[in-house]
């Protein structure tokens, strides 16, 4: 078996997060990992159902990759549950770093094969974070 192109193996350095950052930055702030080309408007944030379906349908990543990412998403959600359940010493800023790193991973595996979906996820970054960072919204997940 000879894959035509090597898989991305990019450095994944999360953006530094100030220790005092207990709330997400403004939604309009540009963030590391954004895949929207300069000079082009950001893709509109997707509704979650649509995003779910596009992720399910994309052929840009294989099932092992999808499952690996799902494992990591589940791990992150577990950390948030521990955080809100006061079973963890993690701070919200640390969770934000983990969230940003996971988003970077998602974007890195999608951006070549499905750049439109990568852009849509990037545009939804703050919407997703707003759910995670709000204990009441998170509880409804």
């Amino acid at each position: 078996m000879r894959p035509k192109t090597p898989a991305p193996n990019r450095a994944q350095t999360p953006r530094p997060v100030p220790k005092t950052a207990a709330s997400p930055p403004a939604p309009t702030a540009p963030r590391a990992g954004a895949v929207v080309a300069p000079g082009r408007p950001a893709a509109p944030a997707l509704d979650l159902v649509s995003l779910e379906q596009r992720l399910r349908d994309t052929k840009a990543i294989g099932v092992f990759t999808k499952l690996s990412l799902k494992n990591q998403v589940d791990d992150l959600l577990g950390r948030f549950r521990d955080f809100y359940g006061k079973k963890s010493t993690a701070t919200l800023a640390q969770l934000r770093q983990r969230y940003d790193l996971l988003l970077l991973k998602v974007l890195s595996v999608l951006q070549d094969g499905d750049p439109a979906l990568a852009a849509a996820i990037s545009a939804s970054r703050e919407t997703i974070w707003a759910i995670l960072a709000d204990p009441q919204k998170f509880a409804t997940l």
Partner: protein
């Protein structure tokens, strides 16, 4: 909005119960490469993939690293360096 956030980011669950792919699938190497990289392990390019069974592969990377990549009974992707 009340859907699981894991579904929000990645919801491949419907197809994840049985990961079974042919080792000669040209996309398999890319899938394995990405999977290995997601675990933070080095692999510049998968040049060979031997299927050991359902959801179970041995991947050989161009740099000589070899990995056992499989899905454990808990549904987690495990990458073990050989």
């Amino acid at each position: 909005m009340s859907r699981s956030l894991s579904v929000l980011l990645l919801s491949a669950a419907a197809t994840l119960g049985s990961v079974s792919m042919a080792a000669d699938d040209p996309g398999m190497g890319k899938d394995l490469s990405a999977t290995i990289a997601l675990q933070g392990l080095p692999c510049d390019k998968v040049v060979d993939a031997k299927r050991n069974g359902d959801s179970d592969y041995t991947a050989t990377c161009k740099d000589g690293n070899r990995y056992h990549v499989f899905v454990n009974p808990q549904g987690r992707v495990v990458v073990q360096k050989l």
